[in-house]
Symmetry: C2
Subunit: 214 residues, 2 copies
């Protein structure tokens, strides 16, 4: 298992820390706010109160021994920036940070932060994409215009086999799997018959997956 | 193309509206803050200033003619809740909203909002999941424990064919596609040779995809 230090335990930081803890990793979770630390101490094994812009405090907490640091301080950009710089000085190899604006992101990337997340923007784009294609359940971009599309089987395909749907020839889509209630059929054969309510997992262009639904 | 009304144009709401506009849909974007409306009028075709808790204002803006509404008011939960209730009264069939906490989400779901997004939490879990599996690029959950994993080809598989990698027998993973720089090879044959830097798109359990990397 790996080790991570997570600084700033707002909604974003706390859910990063909790997800890593749930996977069994060692996570040192830090925040300047004693009440928040107190509140999270029931679900996070190692959580401590400190000011991440204070080098001595970081050293005392042993932050220098971590390979990956996640800085999730949003509202006070200067503190977040300073915390990233101090982690770098302590030798933390990989730093991921959150920001509130694209400009803040650019600055963090320029000082050497490996990856910067804009949580609200990312979630907004994902929702916009899901609303765009009505029957779309979820989407994973694999290359510029091709992705894995999880979609509700459109009425036109219900009660037909995959061969009869002619997905690849007519729409350029490759069926990867079909989910029916709690069962998942991976790499279904051409004779697999699609039923109402099936969720199709296909690879291809989002626009083509949408076209099938129309 | 479809029509959407988006209320509340913070980072989340503005990116939902922009994503839908980029796909060519008709979006009416509304916010109480005149400065924000002014600022966004350069990128959103239909944006107007109004208080979404005011029924007359919503009627005048023609909100009752929309099928889908997205309410993105976070800090002032009471306003967000009220806006959802008014959209329902106006006959908007499908309402999606954002919230800041799980309790707020529960309340919105109970009054009939179809889907509630917690942007920071969603982005935090996605980052935690990506950090969990080092060589993981992205992940799309398809069923409880199975998903589509985009991963950097682990050293153990480099210069071997897919057949030699024996992914399915040894790890229960099905190779869907391989991305090599800007090229995507969908449903690669068993004799496809994996090179350094290739990104593998496989279907299976996240833990098994991680096991390959170790
Ligand atoms: N210098 C610092 N050292 C450590 N923690 C800090 C420091 N400054 C702020 N924090 C903590 O960072 C956390 C996140 O701060 P932020 O301003 O982004 O709040 P937030 O909006 O609640 O975050 P989120 O959007 O993730 O919920 C807060 O819990 C805050 O106490
Ligand atoms: N009654 C209302 N009618 C219309 N818009 C409103 C109303 N109340 C608040 N808003 C707008 O909703 C938007 C989002 O509000 P929120 O309090 O969630 O801010 P935010 O934190 O900037 O959002 P985000 O996290 O998406 O950036 C703001 O632009 C605000 O002006």
């Amino acid at each position: 298992k790996k080790e991570f230090v997570v600084i700033g335990l707002g909604r974003f930081g706390a859910s990063v820390a909790q997800t890593l803890v749930d996977y069994g990793h060692n996570v040192l979770a830090l925040d300047i706010d004693a009440t928040r630390v107190q509140h999270l101490s029931t679900t996070l094994p190692h959580v401590a109160q400190l000011d991440a812009t204070n080098m001595d405090a970081l050293l005392q907490a042993g932050v220098d021994s971590f390979e990956t640091g996640v800085v999730c301080i949003g509202t006070d950009f200067e503190s977040g920036l300073l915390a990233c710089v101090l982690l770098q000085r302590l030798g933390v190899k990989r730093i991921v940070a959150k920001a509130r604006t694209r400009t803040q992101r650019d600055i963090l990337l320029r000082i050497g932060v490996e990856e910067v997340i804009l949580p609200e923007h990312e979630a907004g784009v994902r929702l916009g994409r899901r609303l765009e294609a009505g029957n779309l359940v979820d989407y994973l971009e694999v290359s510029d215009d091709i992705g894995v599309v999880e979609m509700v089987a459109p009425p036109a395909l219900v009660n037909h086999t995959l061969a009869e749907s002619d997905m690849r020839q007519r729409f350029g889509l490759t069926a990867m799997a079909v989910r029916r209630n709690d069962e998942l059929f991976v790499s279904p054969s051409a004779s697999f018959r699609i039923l109402e309510g099936d969720i199709l997992v296909v690879m291809g262009r989002l626009e083509d997956a949408e076209r099938i639904g129309e």
